[in-house]
């Protein structure tokens, strides 16, 4: 049974409560600093809601929130959430603390000041926009792990030099690594004996500073002679299939 503490928040809290309320393996502990909101959540979600300030030691100690797996701070004020997360870390020792902030600048400040997981919808939106427009339509950043690692999604085309080659034969840059390949909707864990095909989606982990170099490498085209040979092989294959079909029909 996992225990999730939801501290503060009005409609956000209601959404999260409703997302987890019916899961039998989840125990929710809800604390809200507003008496009115606490009462409203109680009625709307049919759940016990404790009225108290989640940044107060006493409120946390009285709330049955010990040994929580996750503590989520959703108060309106960023600094209230900051204090609630630090107090929860001190008193409850949850496995994970999540702090929601309005001011996107606070994401990195709060992380630097001891709150490990900070979420800002504006910050996330900014990152998403930056990632979407940062490379081009073939490649985009799909995940950021802190500020030191990013995962790029890259769609392979026939013309790319890495296409139709085994991973063991590709001299992939040392600053990047293929984490997964998705082919026809199915995930493949890469190893040296996997051949990269056109239309594969590669998920590549790299540092943000090397993103452009990785993209340039992936984007490099195969020599025209090789491409010509490939086209000829495909053409030959099509011709053979047609001939076989004709033969069968006769």
């Amino acid at each position: 049974m996992r225990k999730i503490v939801i501290a503060g928040g009005d409609s956000k809290a209601e959404y999260i409560i409703n997302s987890f309320r019916k899961q039998k393996d989840t125990q929710l502990v809800v604390i809200n600093p507003s008496k009115e909101v606490a009462e409203r959540l109680k009625q709307a979600c049919k759940i016990d809601v404790r009225h108290g300030e989640p940044w107060s030691r006493r409120a946390l100690e009285d709330s049955d929130a010990f040994d929580a797996d996750v503590f989520v701070a959703l108060c309106d004020s960023d600094t209230d959430n900051f204090a609630a997360c630090l107090m929860a870390k001190e008193i409850l020792s949850p496995s994970k603390v999540i702090c929601v902030v309005d001011n996107p600048n606070n994401v990195e400040f709060f992380e630097a000041l001891g709150v490990p997981s900070v979420i800002s919808s504006t910050y996330e939106l900014g990152q998403k926009i930056m990632n979407e427009v940062s490379i081009n339509e073939l490649a985009k950043v799909v995940a950021n792990v802190g500020t030191s690692l990013e995962f790029i999604e890259f769609r392979v085309l026939h013309e790319h030099a890495i296409c139709d080659r085994f991973i063991k034969d590709i001299r992939f840059p040392s600053y990047a690594s293929i984490a997964a390949i998705v082919r026809n909707g199915k995930a493949i864990i890469p190893n040296g004996n996997i051949e990269i095909k056109a239309r594969d989606k590669l998920y590549i982990g790299t540092e943000p500073v090397n993103k452009k170099k990785v993209y340039d490498y992936l984007q490099s085209k195969r020599p025209l002679s090789a491409l010509g040979a490939k086209i000829a092989a495909v053409g030959e294959n099509v011709r053979t299939q047609r001939a076989n079909r004709k033969k069968n029909e006769e």
Partner: protein, 158 residues
């Protein structure tokens, strides 16, 4: 390489030399903050007072010689542009314990200000600053209680 928000905030303001930590910052110009600012100014300290409410500066004396700025204390960028990273000491008397906690931590960890003084109403806030050696905390509630008890003992001793 692109700088992170924290790295940008750590940068010293251009108008002040990084090594000259000479100014006293008072964040929160209520009765206590204004009184400390007035006293420091009279004693010749270079003082900067910050508050989000411009009316609060009415508590400063006429001959107050320091700077006064209207700024949201929760906005570290605003405080940075007022020279906070080069402060020698910071006195935090905002009236909001959670804001004071954030400021005290930021002054200690991000700006490494040598002397930080903070007032809290809730005595449990000290728990969250145990590891910060350059922060000193006062709790007016405890000071009042202790002083009152002392007065009672003195009165009863007579």
């Amino acid at each position: 390489m692109k700088k992170t928000t924290v790295e940008k905030a750590k940068e010293k303001p251009k108008f002040e030399e990084p090594r000259t930590r000479s100014r006293t910052f008072v964040i929160g110009c209520g009765k206590l903050g204004a009184s400390i600012a007035n006293d420091s100014s009279r004693r010749g300290f270079s003082v900067v007072v910050i508050d989000s409410d411009p009316d609060s500066f009415a508590l400063l004396e006429e001959n107050f010689s320091g700077d006064r700025f209207v700024a949201d204390a929760a906005d570290l960028y605003a405080l940075k542009t007022r020279g906070l990273p080069a402060a020698k000491e910071v006195i935090i008397t905002t009236g909001d314990d959670n804001l004071s906690l954030f400021l005290a931590k930021a002054c200690a960890r991000i700006y490494q200000i040598p002397y930080i003084f903070v007032r809290f109403d809730d005595p449990d806030m000290g728990l969250l600053l145990q590891r910060e050696s350059n922060i000193r905390i006062i709790y007016p509630f405890q000071l009042s209680r202790d002083y009152l008890n002392k007065l009672r003992e003195e009165a009863q001793g007579k």
